[in-house]
Assembly symmetry: C2
Homo-oligomer: 195 residues x 2
């Protein structure tokens, strides 16, 4: 439903971001035009520039927002205690947080090459903060003699790749319930660290 002229700043902003998120995940950043995003929102293309400086800023905002929300949620969900409990919590957090955000996850991995170098560096910095969270858990587990693995850094990257890969095949109507899959991944992550 296209809107007529008028002032709608308080709702149009989020709608622009939602439309861009959905369309970019579906077709790719370069394949989605500003006109197409505007059409989805129900405004004319020129109106989008009240909410973003240009197309690049729109992509960067989506990706930075995704990473910052991830880090904030992670900080809230982090548990203290023994490394095994922290590892299990990390696995469950990663799955629970990423799974309902398929579009954001997809964009954050696929559209890195369409960022300017400065914007790319910032996203990579945020991603590294998240990876370091897991790496510290593994290192603490190794130091405590609880985990048995050959290389902390490589195991960190392997676990994250394994967990994130779930987004590419999981379907809510699939063979296994989310709880069951989560349990499977908790078990596999434990195996990877030798417990």
């Amino acid at each position: 439903m296209a809107r007529k002229t008028g002032s709608h700043s308080e709702i149009t902003g989020p709608r622009v971001r939602d439309a861009a998120l959905k369309l970019i995940a579906q077709h790719g950043f370069a394949a989605v035009s500003m006109r197409r995003i505007a059409e989805e929102v129900g405004v004319q293309a020129g109106a989008l520039y009240n909410y973003t400086r240009d197309k690049q800023a729109l992509l960067f905002d989506l990706m930075r927002n995704h990473m910052e929300e991830l880090l904030a949620a992670r900080q809230e969900a982090a548990v203290s205690g023994d490394p095994v409990a922290r590892l299990d919590a990390f696995t469950r957090f990663h799955i629970h947080w990423h799974l309902p955000r398929g579009d954001q996850v997809f964009i954050s991995y696929m559209e890195l090459r369409n960022l300017t170098p400065e914007n790319f560096a910032e996203i990579e910095r945020l991603r590294k903060v998240y990876e370091d969270e897991l790496e510290h858990i593994l290192q603490d587990g190794v130091d405590a003699g609880l985990f048995h693995l050959d290389d902390t850094k490589v195991t960190t990257l392997a676990i994250i790749a394994m967990l994130t890969g779930m987004s590419t095949w999981y379907r809510a109507e699939g063979r296994l319930s989310l709880d069951r899959i989560e349990g499977l991944y908790v078990g596999m992550v434990r195996r990877l660290v030798g417990i």
Copy 2:
């Protein structure tokens, strides 16, 4: 170096594919124009249409070629014998084959959404053939009482995601040698199947 007019069919064809591969991996399919590919090859844009029906066919050929070469190489490298040996061989094959083909791997995962539905279905079919190779190894190992895992299908997908993720961070000049990394992944895959 731009070429002058003349007949060069025997060399231009592969050069078009090489240029498209490199540029699409770098910038994404939608972001790369036929003009840019032609410039890289050293011909005018119109000349590309002697080698591809249109831009879509160019992408599909790259992806189909990648998958068919993968399956052919896999068939040649497959070993028989006990499941543990077959699993180790699969791990080493996957790493050795994918690592020097970063551009192809990247495109094959990133550009699926830019294929027409028919072309997408064909690529997915080929990918499933490869996944089934690993799944059969896991199932045989479970049946023989050698592997101990909770779900063959999920473990298959987890292993492939873990192995393929290596392409996103491996650098030849990095901290670890390829042999060392390969050994680490063989160990992690073994752990994932409970041996």
